[in-house]
Amino acid sequence: MNDFEQNLERGLHELFDPYLAEQPRPWRTRPRAGVSGRVAGGLGGALVAKLATGAVIAALAAGAGVGVATTHSLNPVDWGRAASRQVQKAQPQVASTPVAHPVAPASPNRQTPAATPVAVSPAVSPPAVPSSLPTVNPIPLPTVKPTILPTIP
């Protein structure tokens, strides 16, 4: 080894020996994320999104299945009509069921609406239509005659 090579080695060691005394940054094979990061990001996020989509589709399919089984029709409009009919059938039964009204403390001077007997009638059932409607005669209106005013000379 000649003088130049020795000088070169000494120069390089003066420059770079301090580098070797330093500790390298800790090695990480992959970035570490928190629990939310792991779920929201990457494969976890994709899996959660797929599961959620699957659950929604399953719920919709179950609803459609019930509709088809009840109405024997694939048309969702028929499912809606069947549901309306069921509601209308159920309403008279609900109305005929006696309702227990709360009794307010009696007051001699004042009658509370709760104390008065309330006629229970179906609220939404149509009124019975009589076979012959009574005729109504209009009341004759009185005619008004204007009074004659005296003339002023």
Binding site: F4, E5, N7, L8, E9, R10, G11, L12, H13, L15, F16, D17, Y19, L20, A21, E22, P24, R25, W27, T29
Partner: protein, 178 residues
């Protein structure tokens, strides 16, 4: 300052073992950083390239074969990363020179001031792989075989490349250097 662990023979590694790669990283990181700083003349750029090189090495760790020393293998990846960086940098610098024609030169950065050694400046005038060869031989003490593995060139070419690099460096530094 090398620890006893670092100056010992290269330990055995199993390709694909994450624990072994971590050992290789701890043992070689600073040495690779030195080589790349010698090549690039800029510590910040050398740190970026070293990280990039170890990330690439980790991806390829399963395909490493123990016939070549592991550190020389990592050096080869790192030198390729640094050469690519150097080329991009030179293109960018050329663009900057054209853009700044007729304008005053900007002041040198703090990092550049810290690396304004005569030796570093002289090294920057050599081709990138010659710089790497000089650092590998005269700082790390690599053999011709290890340098050949690091540079991806035949072993018989190493001696002639080193001789050419030393001659050019001596010409740049001048007879009176040191």
């Amino acid at each position: 300052m090398e620890s006893s662990d670092e100056s010992a023979e290269e330990p055995l590694y199993s390709p694909g073992s994450e624990a072994d790669f971590e050992r290789l990283y701890r043992r070689s990181h600073q040495r690779v950083l030195v080589t790349l700083t010698g090549m690039l003349g800029n510590r910040a750029a050398a740190e970026d390239c070293t990280q990039e090189a170890f990330a690439r090495a980790f991806k390829a760790w399963g395909s490493w074969r123990p016939e070549a020393p592991a550190e020389a293998w990592v050096h080869r990846i790192a030198i390729n990363v640094a050469v690519s960086y150097w080329r991009r940098q030179r293109l960018r610098e050329a663009g900057e020179i054209v853009r700044r024609l007729g304008q005053p030169a900007p002041p040198p950065s703090t990092a550049a001031l810290a690396e304004r050694s005569d030796l570093i400046r002289a090294l920057r005038k050599l081709p990138a792989k010659q710089r790497a060869a000089l650092v590998l031989r005269h700082f790390h003490g690599y053999t011709n075989r290890e340098i050949a593995a690091s540079l991806g060139i035949p072993e018989r070419t190493v001696a002639s490349r080193l001789a050419a690099a030393r001659a050019q460096l001596q010409a740049v530094l001048g007879e009176g250097w040191r």
